[in-house]
């Protein structure tokens, strides 16, 4: 039975997702037992990565690089770099539905490049009997900041599931699950209207949530089980990551709720954390790589 981690990364003009994926691969190597890494990327991203880092070094952290075609799409995303800066940029990492077919593993932990691994808690996912594990809870590192958009797709819609970390085995049911996500991707306008969150831009979390709902028989049911962590953790785009020290200690400026530009400093250590400020992550990715060589 082969086991490994799968990361998707396609650069856009502003964010070097390849470098972020490499930083995360370094963390996976350091903290996880099942630490074989496969990167799904495109020619431009991997060539840029090899320009920045030695090819042998990259391959020592990411054993398997699968190059796919990056389609020129109109899918955009708002990237925040604290509350003071917002950039609308192309978002190419939307081919997550291909994970089932592209994964070389029998048992795959699919993680976002920006979900930084800081401990081995997720190693337990391989021990569970559950063939599909996805969490529907992610806690903000600022406890008093509660964002309703991460609970349901919309006020009158279905439960929100995080595509940030997904464990799956290659079963027939899971193949159907990923085919369903592909179908949702191809009919995005219809599904965004049906599920009442009209949005022109494709979002992986939403597509996974809809697929879970469909596979559950249009109901709340138990087709998916949570990962062996009770919740994911995240910091939002309004926060800023100041530095990385000792490999997995992060100092983050967290914006206080309803107080724009007013921050609390926080130290994160030995924790898996989803960083939504991609610009900040881009800035510290180099030091993460250096400290976890």
């Amino acid at each position: 039975m082969t086991r490994g981690n799968l990361i998707f990364s396609h650069n856009n003009r502003s964010i070097d997702y390849g470098k972020i994926a490499l930083a995360n691969a370094c963390l996976i190597k350091k903290y996880m037992t099942n630490n074989h890494v496969t990167l799904i990327t495109d020619t431009g991203t991997v060539e840029w990565l090899y320009k920045t880092y030695d090819e042998d070094f990259v391959k020592s952290k990411i054993e398997n690089i699968i190059v796919t075609k990056r389609r020129n799409i109109n899918n955009t995303k708002r990237y925040y770099d604290t509350s003071y800066s917002k950039t609308v940029e192309k978002f190419y990492n939307i081919n997550r539905f291909e994970a089932f077919n592209l994964s070389p593993y029998d048992e795959t932990l699919l993680i976002d490049a920006d979900y930084l691994i800081g401990n081995n808690n997720l190693d337990q996912c391989w021990e569970l009997e559950y063939d599909l594990q996805i969490n529907n809870e992610s806690r903000d590192i600022m406890p008093s900041r509660i964002d309703k958009q991460f609970e349901k797709l919309d006020d009158r819609s279905i439960d929100f599931y995080w595509a940030t970390a997904v464990f799956f085995r290659k079963t027939k049911e899971n193949e159907l699950f990923f085919d369903t996500i592909k179908h949702i991707y191809r009919n995005w306008n219809y599904y965004s209207m049906l599920y009442d969150f009209i949005s022109p831009n494709f979002r992986n979390d939403h597509a996974f949530s809809i697929a879970v709902h469909i596979m559950n028989g249009m109901n709340r049911n138990n087709f998916v089980k949570p990962l062996p962590v009770p919740f994911l953790q995240h910091s939002i785009g309004a926060d800023d990551v100041l530095e990385c020290t000792n490999g997995n200690q992060f100092k983050i400026l967290i914006e206080k709720p309803n107080q724009r530009g007013n921050y609390v400093i926080c130290k994160i250590e030995d924790t898996n954390i989803h960083i939504m400020n991609k610009f900040a992550l881009n800035r510290i990715a180099g030091s993460i790589i250096e400290q976890n060589k």
């Binding site: 808690n121 806690r139 138990n222 949570p226 919740f231 400093i265």
Partner: protein, 115 residues
């Protein structure tokens, strides 16, 4: 209230906010470590689970079926090992939480809390 006193009050408020965030971090970390995979099932280790299993061990049971965190029935074939694993993990996680919490409590400045 003079400006100086207000400044001190705001400084203290900032300290309390920072402390609360760090304390929550420790609690969340402890909670995450108390998730335990065994025999294909997922268990949340807490005082109830420990005493429940301990109770059956005292009755010389060697194996039982219990419901995991997802309410799936899981056959615990080696009850003694399961008990040892959950107690070890519980002590490790809670003792670490206690130690780090105590360290945090002694720090009186924001810069010290996050150093």
């Amino acid at each position: 209230m003079t400006d100086l006193r207000l400044e001190k009050a705001l400084e203290f408020a900032n300290y309390r906010s920072t402390l609360a965030v760090q304390q929550k971090q420790l609690k969340d970390k402890c909670e995450a470590r108390l998730n335990y995979a065994f025999n294909g099932g997922l268990f949340k280790i807490n005082e109830t689970l420990i005493s429940f299993i301990g109770n059956f061990l005292q009755q010389d049971k060697k194996a039982i079926v219990i419901l995991d965190a997802n309410e799936t029935p899981i056959d615990i074939e080696d009850l003694q090992k399961f008990y040892e694993d959950i107690t070890t993990r519980w002590f490790e996680a809670v003792n670490d939480y206690h130690r780090q919490y105590q360290e945090l409590s002694t720090k009186r400045k924001v810069s010290k809390i996050v150093e």
